[in-house]
Each structure stands twice: as C-alpha cells, then as structure tokens.
Amino acid sequence: MTALPSIAFSLLLLSVFLLGVLTLRLASRTRDQQRELERLNDALRRSRELAEQQQTKLAQRSTLDTVKDEFISTVSHELRTPLTSIRGALGLLTSGMLGEIEPKAQNLLRIASSNTERLIRLINDILDLERMESGRDSLKLRRSSILDLAREAIDTITPMADNAGIRLDLNCAAPRDAIYFDADPDRILQVLTNLLSNAIKFSPSGSTVWVQIHSDVNSLLLKVIDQGRGIPPDKLETVFGRFQQVEAADSSKKGGTGLGLAICRSIVQQHGGAIWAQPNRGGPGTTLWVQLSRSARSSDSTSPEQTTMPVTERGDGLVLVCDDDGSIREVVAEQLRQQGYDILQAGSGEEAISIARQQIARAAGLVNDDRSARPIAAILLDLHMPGLTGWETLERLRESPTTAAIPVIILSVSPPSERMQPQGLAQGWVQKPFNEKLLLAELHRVLISSSGAGQVLLVEQDQQTANVLLSGLREAGVRVDHAATLQQAVDRCLLGAPELMVLDMNLPDGDGFSLVDWMKRQPTLSDVPMVVYSGRELTDAEIQRLRLGPTQLLNKAKVRPKQVEDMVLMMVQRRPETAAVA
C-alpha cells in the first residue's frame, strides 16, 4: 500500500514539473511575441518618419522647380526684348531697303546679324534643354511613322543641303508595318533635323549624307551617315555634352550653339531610346545611331526611373560564330559570352557545317549537364569568306535535314537592303561594323521567334521562387517565360499574348495592379487568364481590378509552389487550343 502514495506523489511531481515547463515556454513565447511586436512598431515608426521626410523633400523640390521655371522664363524674356530691337534694326539695314550701304559696312552688318541669330538660337536651345531636363514639358505621344518623319526632316533641310552642294539619300530597310512607333513627332523631327544639319555642316561639298532606317521586333534604328571629317575616338561620347564641340572654333565657324546633340540625346532618352556616334569603318565620316522603342512603355509609367533603355534579357544558348577574320570572331564571341551565351567558333563555311553536324550528333547522345553538348541555337555567319561563301554555306546547311532548322543571322558589311537572298534562308541580319546592342537585340529576336514564345508568362521578382516554379512547369512540358520586373513583363507581352499569366503582386518597379491596368488597355491582352498570388488578403475591389480573363487568386503565405503549379497546369489544359494540341 506504500507504493500508491509514492506513485501519486511522483505523478504530482511530474505534473508540477510539466506545468512549470509549459509556463516557462508560454512565457518565453509571449516574450518573443512581445519583441516581435516592438520590432514591427519600430519599423512602422521608421517608415512613417521616412515618408514624412520624403513628403517634405518633394514639397521643397516643387517650390524650387517653380522658382527656377519663373527665373528661366523671365531671363529669356528679358534677353529677347533687346534682341528684338537689334535684330529688327540690323535686318532692315542689311536688306538695303533703307538705302545703299558700302561693301565694308555691309560686311560689318552681316557679322552683327549672323551673331545676333546665333545668340537667339542659343537662348532658344538653353530654354529647350532646361524645359526637357526638368521633365515638366511632357511628351505628346502619338503613333508616328519614322519614315514620314525622316522624309519631313529631309524636306526641311534640303535647301541647306543644296546650298552646301550635298546630296541627301533615304533608305528604309524596315518592313512597312514596322515603321510605326509611339513618339512626340515634333520632338523626333527636331532630333532628325538637327542630326542632318550637323552632317551637312561637317561634310565636304559634293558628298552624300545617308539616312537609313532598320527595325527589329522591339525597336527602330535610324542611322545618319556622313562622309565628313569624322569625330576623334576620344570625343565620340563628349559631343553629346553641353558646349562640347569637336573643335573650339566650330561654334563660330559653323554657327552652332554647342547644345544641339545634348538636346537630341535628351529628347531620345525621354522617348526611352538611345543615341550614339561611331566612326565609319574604312572611310571618312561618322554614323549617328538613334535607337527608339516601338512602344512607349516609359510613358505609361509615372516613375521617372522608367525612362531608361529597355532591359536586354540575358542570353541562353549555344551560338556558332563563323567568320574568316579571327579578331572579329573573338570580339563577337566575347560580347555574347558576357551576355551568358555559350560559343563555338568556325573560321570557314566548311568548318561551320562540320561543327553543326557534329553538334547534332553530340546532342543526340545528350548528357544532361554538359552545356557544350546542347544543339546549336543559332549561327552568326559572315558572307565574304574564302572557300565556301556565306550564301553557299547557308544553302548547304539548309539542304541537310539535321541542320536545316538552325536559325542563321548574317553578319556582313553589306546592308540588308542589298540582300539578294532567296526568301527564308536567313532569319536575321546585322551589318558590320556592328553595334553590340543591335547584335544582341537581333540575336535575341531571332531566338525568340524561332523557338516560339512560351505559353505561360511567370511574373515573379524572387529568383528562387521563380526557379522552383519554372523547373516544375517545364518538367510538366509547359513552355514558360520568366519576367522579374514590370518592365520585362511588358516587353514579353508585346511579343504576343501569353495563354496564361502567373503574377506575383510585388514587383521591384511597380506592382501587379500597374501591369494589369496596362494590359487592360491592350486589345490582345485584355482577357488573359491569370493566376495571381499575393502576400496579403486582397479586398473585393482589388480583386475586381485584377480581373482580365478567368482569374485564380492564391495567398502566397498559405500556398506551396506545387499548388501553384497544379493550378497553372489545370488552367492551361482547360484552354481549348492547348487541349487540341495535346
């Protein structure tokens, strides 16, 4: 009987012990929660303070902008008033309307007149530049034709060209439906007129200034090529600065203000484009390149950070570079490697064909992790080579069933307008001397159009989450593209509507709402089915705002990648066209 009380006692002890442990754990959890709460409170307070500071800064900046605006406007007015009298008086005297003037005096009047004109241009240019850089004079965008604008600029400048004895030549290699873009036509016209006027000023009499227009899937490219004295390599970039002429005497000799190219760059950048200068290969003169986006993504956004160049996606794939010039091969290879491509090189057409065939054989006995054993994604091909020429190489590649489907981009000194190719032999064209951006854009375009865009677009900023979803979906046989930013998502959507979009509401350069709002305004994107996942519960109004086509909502905190995958698979397979293919 003595055992019973001792068991009871042990049980009591045990319960007291357990109760103690439980209490301690509860207490520690409460302490943890307390700490977490304090931390959150702290964070909240800090972010409120930050928001207030930003608000104050914004208000200060806005006041400063107004003051600066008024100052510029007043100064410009005060300078123009005396200039009006000077210009008027000189103009009437020089015209001879008020009586004959002897030649020496006439020459002095001419000097005074032309310098008055220069001063007026300078004031106009300063005002123009200030207005643009302040960002207060917004672009008036509308769908414009680059070809029409180039023609208009040429018409405007023809009298000047005639006076200087210079021929103007316009050549458009872009297909008819690819010449349209979103632009402020007056501003782009200002850029083109300025570039042409520069080219004429610095070209010898009897020479030609060419304007060439090219296009790719996302952008337009316009070149102004002159045969003038050229720009020294160290000045290729500085000419776009303010008052940075190649020679100090240029502003007085050529009547420029030293602000023309700065204004051009400012306008082009406002359009989300780029402008740069390059010396002509193997000849005198300079080529000015203007790259312009075909759709005005930047204008859809209120954020000034968005007016940058479109992000070029990193490359992926094995590219064969075929050129008999080893140094060109190496330059191209290096540029592509830096973008993430793997490279094979061939020094002749014969070698290129042989490598392409070997690679098919290697890829057939594919070892999964060996990146070098992948099939060739594209071939960059020179035209003028000893032995097999580029065209002959291309024909042989097309004759053999194993190599017939490999996309080929011609890399040649000849412009694409002179291509005498049978249709469909080559998928792309880059003219030498080539610009890196153009080469990458063309390769990217060819790779996308040959592979076909994915069915599903995954918009997710977190690379790890994206990788999990991408590999899961790809294993299930779904073609998926990935966009990590709002900008990339817009870029991808412009290539064609995805069958389904998987959207994370948090993006580094905006949020899911901005993307969906933009899609609503695009006729081909306004009914895309969506799987939306968000970090928080969405209100009914928000859910309504996100709805395009059939829409599924998932809470990020409660859902696992596998469930997102299943949802995507279900929705993709439910689509009738996919069902038909499957």
Binding site: S73, R80, L83, T84, S85, A89, G91
Partner: protein, 124 residues
Amino acid sequence: MRRILIIDDEDDIREVAALSLEATAGWEIMTASSGADGIQAAANGKPHAILMDVMMPGMDGPTTFRQMQLNPETAGIPVLLLTAKVQGVDQRRFADLGVAGVLFKPFDPLTLALQISQTLGWND
C-alpha cells in the same frame, strides 16, 4: 491701304516694327506705348489690325485685349500678340484668350508683314 496699330512699351521695338511694316508692306502705322493709350487709339483710328506686346506696365496685353472686346468700337478689330514669352504654358494661355494669333520676338523684320497677313488670311 492697311492700317496697323502697334502697342508696345519699348520705344525701340515700336520704331523697328513700324519701319519694318512700312518698308516691306507699305502699310500705314499708328503706335501707342501703353494699353490704355492703345484702346483710345484703336477707338479713334479704326485700324485693320492691332499688334500688341504682352508684358507692359500698367495694363498688360491680355487685359487690354479683354477691355477692347467689351468696347463695341474696338471689339471687331483682330489682335495679334507679339511676345517674348515662348514657353508652352504661356502659348496655351494666349491661345485660350481668343486672340487672332500669337507672333514671337525677336521677329524677322523682313517677314513680319507677311506673318501678319498669313495669320489674318489677307491676300493683298
């Protein structure tokens, strides 16, 4: 012969503009150096058009224009503003006023008359 009234507070600009219109188009020119004088001159002289500065001490160009619109003697005379303000915001403001046109300083003395004729649709 066309008769033009120039209203500008700057003596030099009045003189140059008058000389330019007389010499290139042979028009008859009247001048006034303020908005108030301008209204008086317009009512008395009945010009075919008025070329008027924007920034003037006392009554500025837009105010003078509005006053003229209220007066039946001057309401029908087309008014062109001649301004050194070239910013977009100013131009839009002028366009909203309902003037016949806006010309910019510094003007070209040899083509000023032509610009006025074109703006007003004069063919003579």
